[in-house]
Amino acid sequence: MKKSKFLINGMRKHSLPWLMLAPFLILIVIFFFLPIILIAVNAFTDMDSALQWTFNGIDNFKKMLLDPNMPEILKNTFIYVFFTLAINVLFGLVLGLLTSYFIQKESVGLLFRTIWMLPRISPPVVYVLLWLWFFDPSPYGILNSLRALVDLPPGEWLSSNPKTAIVLANGMIGASFGMIIFSSAIKSIPENLFQAAKVDGASQWSIIQDIIIPAIRWPLMFVTMWQLLSLLTSYEYILLLTGGGPMVESEVLSLYSYHKAFESFEYGYGSAVSLVLVVIALGFSAIIWKVFGMKKMMGTSRVE
């Protein structure tokens, strides 16, 4: 009797927060948790466009190992992630240093950072159109126009260098992410550290190496891990720019699962590839979680 009364009181007290959280939780359950389960189950079926759940054990994973496209796709994924990540982090760092340390005038730094944000805020379709125009195989493409000025023949850039194209296009977007995070980290370094170093006669290079880099090592690590995770699993710009082609020359693992599912309608096999990606991504998330101690960011409620 007493216990049930306690329970009812408890429910009444706690019903408001749950009510407020309800739509949030429902959305997450339907579009995050349910899909994870569906992918995990579907990865063991040979579902095609007929949408029949016929279980076939680990056939999809065997198929993945024997897939003639797989070696090239894995190689592409590695090249794409490695070089794009390098551009994102290193060039992001250069942009951050230039716009917030070397350019002391805040308005000039902000102007440059604003321009660099343009590709990032442009809708992906528009941004990719600019690259398509840049690489256009006809004499109207910008690269071919420039070559025509020095009497060089036009080239088929997107089909001859698809990997370079996707790395450049994604790198430019990712660099601005690094730039924003690094420049706010650099700005939070106390000014007197720089002044002291200058009085002691330190060169610019040693200021960067001995003051700035150590001070922003956490943002550096964070951007690296975060971008690694995003690059492994996102494919929107590749889909728009080269579509993975020609053949599978610029196809990466995440795009492959998309193509398998929505172009050749091999839902079962596509799910298996997705499942591999999800497991890899969860591993990386766990590392990010551990390294950056997310617990610190979650204080207890300030009320009650």
């Binding site: 949030f24 339907i30 321009i115 596509g270 998330s285």
Partner: protein, 298 residues
């Protein structure tokens, strides 16, 4: 060691040399920044010029002024064998998509953010951990399963379905950011309101919400722009021409093999980018803060 006792005459010379040396890094800095930033400026400038010009000399220099490329605003684009839907249908759909998305996200985000920030209940820590985890979750890897779910709900090929998906994918981040805004409101303020006899809802409505209004505005703009720019989900889950949005309309034009008209493409692109540019110019400072805190894209 010897240098210290050198004659005085040496001093000015050393000074000028070191001043010159000190400048070199800045010259390199401005040079690098200028050279790397110039292509971006040129590309967007090209978009503008090419949309108002009949053709481009060497691909980059506008030749003759024309409004021909903007004709899509009053007549439907026609290609060999196919007529494109009206640009205004696409614009309206994009507007509805982004607008409903924003409203849903802000309402659900404010409710969840407030509960997570100010209320104590069993499972709170668990929900917060889950929300953090979902930020890094590769949502695009789940598209296959999302397709089944939309199919099951009868929402495949409808804007509403994609709105729900997009809201769900963004809500962990949005709720988290809004929770941060609530965390910054001093509890004393709410306490004072409660003592003065307001109930909790009234305190919330009259004291707390006005304080976090700027934050809500930033989140709204951010999610509106995310909705306006959305491509992948719309491309995958919406097929019919009635539900075409500006992003899928433009993609359809770009991938049309019968079309090599950069004038038309750049005019449609500019038209599509108008809200983005307006918001960007007026709110870039708060926008940058929000995207520094989150922003999942590459």
């Amino acid at each position: 060691m010897e240098g210290i006792y050198e004659p005085k005459m040496e001093a000015p010379k050393i000074k000028t040399v070191s001043k010159w040396n000190a400048r070199i890094p800045y010259i390199i800095a401005y040079g690098t920044l200028g050279i790397t930033t110039l292509p971006i400026i040129l590309m967007y400038l090209w978009l503008l010029m090419s949309s108002f010009s009949t053709q481009m000399k060497h691909g980059v220099i506008p030749v003759e002024f024309t409004l021909e490329n903007w004709r899509f605003l009053w007549t439907n684009v026609e290609m060999v064998g196919s007529v494109y839907p009206s640009i205004w249908t696409a614009t309206w759909n994009s507007f509805v998509f982004a607008g409903v998305l924003t409203v849903l996200e802000v309402i659900i985000g404010v409710m969840a953010g407030y509960a997570l920030s100010r209320m104590e209940f069993p499972g709170r820590q668990g929900i917060m951990k889950m929300t953090m985890m979902l930020h890094a979750f590769p949502s695009v890897a789940l598209l296959i399963a999302v397709f089944f779910i939309l199919n099951f709900m009868g929402l495949f090929d409808s804007l509403l379905g994609v709105i729900l998906v997009k809201t769900a994918l963004q809500i962990p981040m949005t709720a988290w950011i809004i929770k941060g805004f609530f965390d910054d409101v001093p509890w004393d303020l709410e306490w004072a309101g409660l003592i003065d006899g307001c109930n909790r809802f009234k305190v919330w409505y009259t004291i707390v919400i006005p304080i976090i209004k700027p934050g809500i505005a930033a989140v709204s703009i951010f999610s509106f722009l995310a909705g306006w720019s959305e491509f992948l989900l719309l491309y995958t889950f919406v097929l019919s021409d009635d539900n075409i949005t500006l992003s899928t309309y433009l993609q359809k034009l770009i991938s049309d093999p019968n079309l090599v008209n950069y004038g038309l493409l750049s005019a449609v692109s500019l038209f599509y980018m108008i809200p983005v540019l307006i918001f960007f110019i007026f709110t870039q400072k708060s926008l940058m803060q929000v995207s520094a805190g989150g922003g999942k894209g590459v």
